[in-house]
Amino acid sequence: MTAHSIRRWFREPALQFLLIGAAIFALHALVRGQVSGGDSPRHIRVTREDIRRLRDGHFALMGRMPSQEEEQRIIERYVDDEVLFREALALGLDKGDSVVRGRLAQKMQFVSEDLNPPAEPTESELREFLKSSGKYVQPRKMTFQQIFFSRDRRGVRAKSDAEAELSKLKRDPSQGAPASGDPFMLGKRFADRSETDLAGLFGPAFAKEVFALPPGDWSGPIASSYGMHLVRVENITPSAISPLEAVRERVRQDLLQVRRDEANRAMLRKLHEKYRIEIEAAPTLKTAEARRK
């Protein structure tokens, strides 16, 4: 790899993203106090583990281990950063930094989650949550046949042709599998599909109209994105809550998450008690927005 191409890759923004990511990672690691040995605030010791981590970081960026020269530079840079980091802490530069602040706040939340793991839900709690959440509902579905009258093939005639075919079908309702109409690459019969499925296959307006049909007779014509369709609904599966057996793990995880969120809020409420919190009156949002512009 030539020096030129290395420079080019360094200019490559995707790589720059990784560099930014690595910088934030390094910052995080420092904040976490994982990195940086030393016995006193004025003693910096780069440990073997530190060096391994720096090598890994280089690998993540460059796809290879650093050369000896590169490693020397990386360590020097690391020591420089450690010196700057400690000076920054001494000057209180971590205060008021929204990135540092947000990161530490999130860590505190994880700490609280580790300290207060949510209780494993019982069978009846799972059943109750399944029923009350409204999330584990299989939508209403339909099984139907359709006869297609292509707009590309028939133009404005698609509608009248469909109407003519419909009156024929009404005269002879015994006709089962229709041979009339135009070929349709998605098929004639659709088994147990939701309104969302139909919106994706035929367009949203068609889906809505079909889902208003009762089962039984041929009806239409109904317009899709492709032309006109006669539709006969064979069967409707009503919307229903899934049986717990089928969604147990999802319900369990969701309920655990609800409990985790509750525990977090409870912890926050408790922590709030340690503080006297004052909120000053601020200008109304409208004024603030106007000032920003």
């Binding site: 790589l15 990511g21 098929g187």
Partner: protein
């Protein structure tokens, strides 16, 4: 009424689990390249949506996007949910992100376990089969600054305890060997494929298969990697003008602005960076050694780093890199240097929406990729299709019975046929109530073939349906499309240049009428006096054509 179902003997081996089972196969859209807060880079970009949140988003729930502390919060939501998704967080640094979350002895294993739990919980195992979630990760290997990244997708919940990273296994060959050891040969029911992506970033590495490859090595590669990602947020990898071709439609969301006609030696102009060239390389090698190591089906994905699978709608696009590309101006300047478009979607034809059925479709390559929208495309090859197949009510039944779908090998040569016949049939994207889809413009077949005397490969693009000169236009200020187009296309095409001695592949490229590119959409979101120069200086392609690429059908003499 079930007796009315046309039964195909060829498909009878697939057991039905879902009530929507269809032996002639349903169409499902998905995204199998998705990063969340578990990826070191996505986290650094400010993304806090986790794997569960990403699977929820894929099914239609809103997600919060990264925004600076002082800005109002940003959310995104799909207008149309996906049918399936795979979260593919980087296995490198697994467990270190989100920082502080995994504090046990083995954070990497714990993060991987969480990824599995999220997919297991999202995967609908009821007969309703509303959504399929795959357990997956990204192996992010690179060499000398060039990328040979792969997404590793597992069939089911039988997966190894640890996700192999590029620090464990540095080359694709080592990755495949390791996946054999811990998965395919482990006797646990584990099954896996690896999907290469961003060959455009590989500086000639991705599909650079040497002449010295053995048939055994070629078989290993073909079995591990039946697919490749042709399009995603970091640019298009179908083909590039000047790289063994002069096809004007290759000029589509190219990531690197190098003129490969003028600078063919530039590493971004290597034939090994593009899928069409890889398909040609594959049949060249097959001609030499009898095995095709690059028998690649086609998919596309987003590669979102916002935890937002399927988030490809230009009109609603908010970026894919968290804080870095959150505004139109950022995307058009520095942030947009990384990601140059919203990416694509993968479509599969499968009997039902279940892991087994979709994984089987991926394996047999009955897939196509789109540039982010949802046209319907079927492609079959055979010897006996009648000229009027498009007029026959049972065309799909006939197509399956008399030939193979996209991704397959043509049946053995029919000596009575002078050329193979291909069925190409497509429907436009119906869009949503707010944004109806764009009409189709035309369909092409891209053919690659071998001259057996020289062993060299060639390619040619054929127009097979529609009208590339229909005069359709788009108004750049409103992005409103105008002019004629097609709701559907259907054609039976016979190769006029067929030579039964020449090994060949054929794939379909389906094009919409012209639309605004993401750059035009983003420029329109910025007040004229604040637009960056690129909105007006002609450096960006402001008008483009959305498209889909089918998996190829191969002919073997």
């Amino acid at each position: 009424m079930l007796l009315c179902l046309p039964l195909l003997s060829a498909n009878a081996d697939n057991n039905s689990r879902c009530t929507s089972f269809n032996p002639e196969r349903n169409l499902y859209f998905g995204d199998m390249h998705v990063h969340t807060s578990y990826s070191f880079d996505a986290f650094a970009f400010g993304t806090r949506t986790d794997p569960s949140g990403a699977y929820d988003f894929a099914q239609g729930a809103p997600a919060t996007l990264a925004s600076p502390p002082d800005d109002p919060p940003r959310t995104a939501q799909l207008a149309r949910p996906l049918d399936f998704a795979a979260v593919t967080d980087h296995s490198e640094y697994f467990g270190q992100y989100p920082p502080g979350m995994f504090t046990g002895d083995n954070p990497a294993r714990d993060a991987w376990a969480h990824e599995q739990m999220a997919a297991e919980a999202a995967n609908d195992t009821t007969p309703g089969c509303s959504f399929t979630a795959f357990i997956a990760y990204e192996w992010t290997g690179s060499y000398g600054g060039a990328w040979w990244h792969r997404n590793v997708i597992f069939r089911n919940a039988q997966v190894p305890d640890l996700a192999i990273s590029s620090w464990d296994m540095g080359t694709p060959q080592d990755l495949w060997a390791a996946l054999h050891a811990v998965c395919l040969d482990a006797g646990t029911g584990c099954d896996v494929i690896a999907i290469p992506h961003n060959p455009n970033f590989s500086n000639g590495l991705m599909f650079n298969v040497p002449d010295a490859i053995t048939p055994e090595q070629a078989n290993t590669r073909a079995a591990m990697e039946p697919l490749a990602e042709i399009h995603q947020a970091k640019g298009d990898s179908e083909c590039k003008i000047g790289v063994q071709n002069n096809d004007p439609l290759c000029d589509f969301y190219q990531k690197f602005p190098v003129d490969c006609m003028a600078s063919p030696a530039d590493p971004t102009c290597s034939p090994a960076n593009f899928i069409r060239n890889a398909l040609r390389r594959g049949i060249e090698l097959e001609e030499r050694i009898g095995v095709n190591p690059l028998k690649l089906g086609i998919i596309s994905d987003t590669d979102t780093h916002n935890g937002t699978p399927g988030d490809t709608d230009e009109a609603a696009y908010q970026g894919h890199l968290g804080l870095i590309d959150r505004s139109p101006a950022m995307r058009l300047t520095t942030g947009g240097d990384g990601y140059n478009n919203p990416g694509g979607l993968v479509a599969v034809w499968a009997q039902e929406n279940s892991r087994d059925s979709i994984f089987d479709a991926l394996r047999r390559r009955e897939t196509y990729g789109t540039s982010g929208y949802r046209p319907k495309l079927r492609f079959f090859g055979g010897w006996s299709y009648p000229d009027n197949l498009c007029d026959q009510a049972d065309l799909i039944t006939t197509a399956y019975q008399g030939g193979v779908p996209m991704g397959g090998n043509l049946p053995p040569l029919d000596p009575t046929a002078s050329s193979p016949a291909f069925l190409i049939t497509a429907l436009r994207d119906p869009g949503t109530a707010d944004r109806p889809g764009t009409p189709l413009q035309h369909a092409q077949i891209v053919k690659g073939w071998i001259d057996p005397a020289s062993g060299q490969s060639f390619e040619r693009v054929y127009e097979v349906a529609g009208d590339p000169g229909n005069g359709a236009t788009v108004d750049p200020t409103t992005c409103q499309t105008n002019g004629p187009g097609f709701d559907s296309l259907c054609a039976v095409w016979r190769d006029p240049d067929f030579d039964s001695s020449q090994r060949a592949f054929y794939y379909v490229r389906l094009l919409d009428n012209p639309t605004c590119s993401i750059y035009q959409y983003d420029c329109n979101r910025i007040a004229p006096d604040q637009q960056p120069a690129s909105c007006t200086d002609g450096s960006l392609q402001m008008i483009t054509q959305n498209r889909a690429w089918s998996s190829p059908i191969w002919y073997q003499p």
